[in-house]
Structure formats: structure tokens, C-alpha cells
Subunit: 364 residues, 2 copies
């Protein structure tokens, strides 16, 4: 565990606990909206931290309230970061808070790593309601707790009204690499199979519909979820056979597989009919002329695995609650290097390029 306290002497732990109590008594948040002073680093910042962040995220590493959190670790570490600017801040199936936790856990998992701790940095807009901020922070803290990954350090800045958009969150994460062999986008080999852990396109479509701009109604919820236990199960079962792990977020499956094809200097051929897509997502995409393969996911992974391990890998994914709809969707070939092809339902083959342009801005 990242917030192991075994190495901290009892007397110091007591002192930290007492300091928490002193802070709780000394700092009280009375404001109902975020003010510029909440970003000053002075008393108002402490009021906001004690009023909103500290109670929600409380854990021994964070409770020290030092400028850095401490973690015990050894070996190869994975380190990642993402900023979240999703609009709207709340959408069916999630919000920017849990998304910021899941996204960074997933980037660590895709490096074959087990997450040890997260950081959370907030850029708040002056005038944003404190109650709404508290709801997002609570969602973030709940997501971190559910995943078993503590938020060990953080920061808060405030920008003037009109220079932000309520809340931007940047999370970073540290993980310990548990993959028994190197995993990376440059390691796909001809003959490998491509697996996806479930239906694609749900997150992007859910966020788009939540904006209410497209005049389409459909019941689609974001798939936002932490994939570290799914990855652990996969690595435990077929570890050395796993060559690439990538979560198809912005740019979707199409962009992600193009990245693998480029980095590995291989071709990838997909079977369109094998790719799981929720009927409502298919429907919305057809109406709006979008391709589900370029739409963001926040709780799905792509795995490129050696052919002899593909069936077992599929079995393991399907046995996990987050991989029930997993499928083998394609195969890696040697040539033409750097290209991705889609064999369509009607028997044709087309080049599947990366996402060009941005039909769905601010999806995460």
C-alpha cells in the first residue's frame, strides 16, 4: 500500500493527528463560492483545503500536509499525468472528479503497473459554487477509495471568472511495474492478436449527449472505470504474452491502434463485426455521421497479445466485471508497416486512419 505508515514512528503519527485536529479547529470555510483569495496560499487557501479537500481525501500521507507526499517503493516505477477539462463537469455515469482518478490509474495500468498513489491539482474558477466543488471532490475521493489508491498530494489555484471553466483537474500517478515482461506500444509483433475489453464509444457519446446540443436522446452512460485489477488479472494469467496495453481514450480505438502500428512498425487488421458497440452508440453515431472507432472510452483497454495466449486472455478479461464484453477484434501483420485496416461488415477493407479534426472537443 502506498500510504503504509509502518516506517513513521508512533510519536510522529500522534503529532500529525494532533496537527490535523488543530487545523480543523483553526480553519473554517464560510464562503459559498470560490474567491481569488482561495488561491492565495494564505489563510483562505487553508480554509478551502480544510473545508473541502482534507476531510474528503484524508489518508496518512496527505494528512501530513507537507509540500510532498511520501511513498515507499522499489523497482521500476511508472509515472503519468493527465489534465481533465471535460465539459460538462457532470455527465451520465460520472463526472470530472472520478474521471480524473480513473484516467490516471488507467494510464499506469497500461504501463503494466499497479497504482501506488495519485496527486490532484485543481484550477478553480472564481465564483464556482463550493457545494458543487465539494460534490466533485467527494466523487474523486470515492473513486480513489474504491480503487484502493490514495491521493497523497495536491494543489489548488484560482483563476478569475471567465478565465477558467468551473474546475480543471490535473492528476498524476505513480505505479510499480508488475508486468513480467516489457509492455509498450512499440512491442506488437506480426501474428499477435488484438483484444478489446468491451463496448467502444460509450464515454464520448455520453458526454456529447449530456451537452444537449445535438438534438438526439439516447440512454448512454460513460464507461469511466479503473482498469488496474483487470490488467492485473490479465498479467497474472498470460503476463509474458502481453505485448501492448493501451486505453483508447481521446481519438478512440482507431487512433490508439494507429499509434501502436506506427511505433511497432506493423500493420493491424480489424474485423468490424467483432468490435462490440452498444446499439445506442451505433444509433447516435449513424445519426451524426460519427465513427465509434474514433470516439473516446474511459474504461476500456486494448491488449496486443501473442497468438497462443489470445484465447486464454479473452477468457480472463471476460471473467472480470469490467471485461464481460471483451472480444478478439483483429490481428497484427508485418506489412504495410504503420497502417491499420478495417474489414467491414459488408466484406470490403478500408484504411482506418487516426482521428482527424475534433468532432467532440473536451471529452476528458
Amino acid at each position: 500500500m502506498a500510504h503504509e505508515t509502518g516506517t513513521i514512528p508512533e510519536a510522529v503519527l500522534e503529532k500529525i493527528a494532533r496537527a490535523r485536529e488543530i487545523r480543523r479547529r483553526r480553519f473554517a470555510l464560510r464562503d459559498t463560492h470560490v474567491t481569488m483569495s482561495h488561491g492565495s496560499g494564505g489563510k483562505a487557501t487553508h480554509n478551502l483545503v480544510e473545508g473541502v479537500f482534507a476531510p474528503s481525501f484524508s489518508n496518512p500521507a496527505l494528512d501530513r500536509m507537507d509540500d510532498a507526499g511520501l511513498l515507499e517503493a522499489a523497482g521500476t516505477l511508472a509515472f503519468t499525468t493527465d489534465s481533465y477539462v471535460v465539459s460538462p463537469l457532470v455527465f451520465p455515469g460520472g463526472d470530472i472528479g472520478c474521471l480524473a482518478v480513473h484516467g490516471t490509474i488507467n494510464d499506469l495500468a497500461m504501463a503494466g503497473a499497479w497504482p501506488l498513489g495519485l496527486s490532484a491539482a485543481f484550477i478553480l474558477e472564481e465564483g464556482y459554487p463550493v457545494a458543487d466543488l465539494q460534490a466533485l471532490v467527494d466523487s474523486m475521493a470515492a473513486a480513489a477509495r474504491a480503487a484502493g489508491v490514495p491521493v497523497v498530494t495536491g494543489d489548488t489555484k484560482v483563476v478569475p471568472q471567465g478565465h477558467g471553466d468551473g474546475v480543471y483537474i490535473t492528476t498524476a500517478g505513480i505505479g510499480r511495474v508488475i508486468a513480467p515482461a516489457p509492455v509498450g506500444q512499440h512491442l506488437a509483433r506480426p501474428g499477435d492478436r488484438v483484444l478489446v475489453s468491451g463496448q467502444v464509444g460509450n464515454h464520448g457519446v455520453a458526454v456529447m449527449l449530456a451537452r444537449g446540443e445535438v438534438g438526439v436522446e439516447a440512454s448512454v452512460t460513460s464507461d469511466t472505470a479503473p482498469l488496474h485489477t483487470l490488467v492485473r488479472a490479465l498479467l497474472e494469467a498470460v503476463g509474458p504474452a502481453v505485448h501492448c496495453l493501451k486505453d483508447p481514450t481521446r481519438g478512440g480505438v482507431a487512433t490508439t491502434l494507429n499509434e501502436i502500428a506506427l511505433a511497432s512498425e506493423v500493420a493491424i487488421a480489424l474485423e468490424e463485426r467483432a468490435i462490440p458497440v452498444h446499439p445506442a452508440v451505433t444509433g447516435v453515431c449513424e445519426l451524426l455521421g460519427l465513427d465509434p472507432l474514433t470516439i473516446a472510452n474511459e474504461g476500456k483497454l486494448l491488449a496486443v497479445v501473442a497468438p497462443e495466449a489470445a484465447a486464454r486472455a479473452l477468457e480472463v478479461l471476460r471473467a472480470h466485471p469490467l471485461g464481460r464484453d471483451a472480444a478478439i477484434i483483429g490481428e497484427v501483420a508485418a506489412e504495410p508497416a504503420g497502417m491499420v485496416f478495417l474489414r467491414t461488415d459488408i466484406g470490403g477493407t478500408r484504411v482506418l486512419d487516426m482521428l482527424v479534426g475534433d468532432p467532440l472537443p473536451r471529452i476528458c
Copy 2:
């Protein structure tokens, strides 16, 4: 070193190098201004990454272009993050780019840690000139190189014009704790001496003057600088005697020492005349009714050390280019716990509170 490549097989390194070359040829940035598509995660994002970020930050960990950077580490790690929203983006003595590197290195150093690697997440505003972005990224990369700390992972998002302010940067950092004994804001003890590594208030005043709003002209430059080598020198000389290290950024010396007094349940008494302040900073503060002790610094540290080590600690700080003006400025007492006092030049004593309100918003 964080970007050690000893564990990566030669064949994989060659593959990464070839993939870099392929990316360089395939992605070309032709836009002169940031567009929403640069945040899509698709081809335009790759064009921006290859055009601006990848060449500037290039190092083996980042060049893999995986979702996470890999680092080798063992022991107790420090982990920290800060968002930077300073306005203006460029100011005398620095800019948001080098500030984001120095600030996170310093937070690691204040945990008694040697920095191993940084992450960098950018929130760009649609319409921001690419040339200006390149200048900030170059400054950031130069600061990281000069400090010997690689940027191993990153992210780019774009928000619509009017929802950002050019560039916001969030850095996170990982460091290996090198302090031989625990260091933290709750560890100050009665009798300890308080040292500052140089003149206070320069950064905040430089940024304020750069805004041109106050009708005062003075030649003050930001003190933004990485303090890790200064901290290493101090720890090597008097390690076990160093009880607290804190950089007085937002909220200044006054807020930072109040945090220590609260967390350690001690009183701190400062000698005003011992605190080094640049004459131009004193002048500007008198004109504008500001207190240099509540103004942000970005290249200064406060150290609380055992009394018998104070003279040696001062000597070591002064022998380092970033500590030439270091001084012993105060002393820790048992009572009244949680309070900071200032013995003024004219012989009186006043309570020195945390910063209340925010006279200088968006200073970092």
C-alpha cells in the same frame, strides 16, 4: 538518474529511436495558433506534440511516447504537484515554463528528496500562438536540463478561447528521499533556529510590476531557481539537524512559518532586521502597503535546524550560489504554540499572521 536506460535491451532502444524518426516524418505542425483539434488526441495532437514538445523535452523515457514514463527507484519517494497559472506568462527573471519546473523540484527538495523526474500537463487556450508556446516549452526544457531532471511524461488539452488564459501548466514530480532523518513541518522543536536562504519578496514583486498595473517602476527580477543542490549541500553537512524545510512561495515567509508553528505546536520569533530584503522590494512594498513577508518567493527556502548546527548550516548555505544572502532570522520557542512573532526594527513585537486576502493573485 531517472532516465537510466541500462535495463532496456539494445534492440528495444533501436526500435524506439526508429519510431521517433517515423513520428518526425509523419507528423508536421503547420498551424501558427493552437486549435481545438490539437486537444483531440488524434492526428492534430500528434502534430503538436512532434512540432513543439517532443524535440524540446527529448529523453529516453519520454521518447517511448507511451502513456507513462518509466523510472528506476527504491526507498522512500516524495511525490508532489503544482498547477501554474501565473499572469503574465513571462516576467523579469523567468516565465511560467521554468517556474513550473523549479516549483516542483523545490517541493521535492523541501521533502528532503532528490528529484528523479517530472511530468508536465498543459491546458492550452484555443488561439494561443504556437511560437509563444514553443518559447515557454523551450524555457521549461532548458530549466529541466539545467537542473538535471528529465520530463518523462506529459499531456496536452485545449480549451476554447475565453475559457483559459494562454497556457496553464501542471507539473508533478517524483524524488528519492535523501534526508538522513525525517524532515517535515511538524518537526520544529523549541530552541531550533530558523534560516532563510536569501532575500525575500522578489518573485511576487517582479510579477506584480510586470503587470504594469501599479504605476511603480523598479528593477526587481524573480528569484525562480531550483533548490535541490542547495538542499543536498545542507543535508550532507548537517543532515540530522535539519528538522523542517519549506519554500515560502504563495503566502510568503509569514504564511510558511505559521504553517510550521501550527503543525509543530511551537512559537516562532523572528528578528525583522535579520531578514534580507532587496532595497527595491522594500521600496515597492512601502509604496503599496504590502508586507515583503507575505510575498511569494520561488527560489528561497526556510530551514529549521537544531541550534548547535545553525552556524554550520548558515556557512553551507552561503557557500552555494543560491544561498549567498542566507541569514539566521529567528528562533523556535515552546509557547505560545501556533504563533509567529516579529521583533521589529524599532524594538516592538507584533504577531505575524498568515496572509489574509490576496493582494497579488496569480503569482505562480
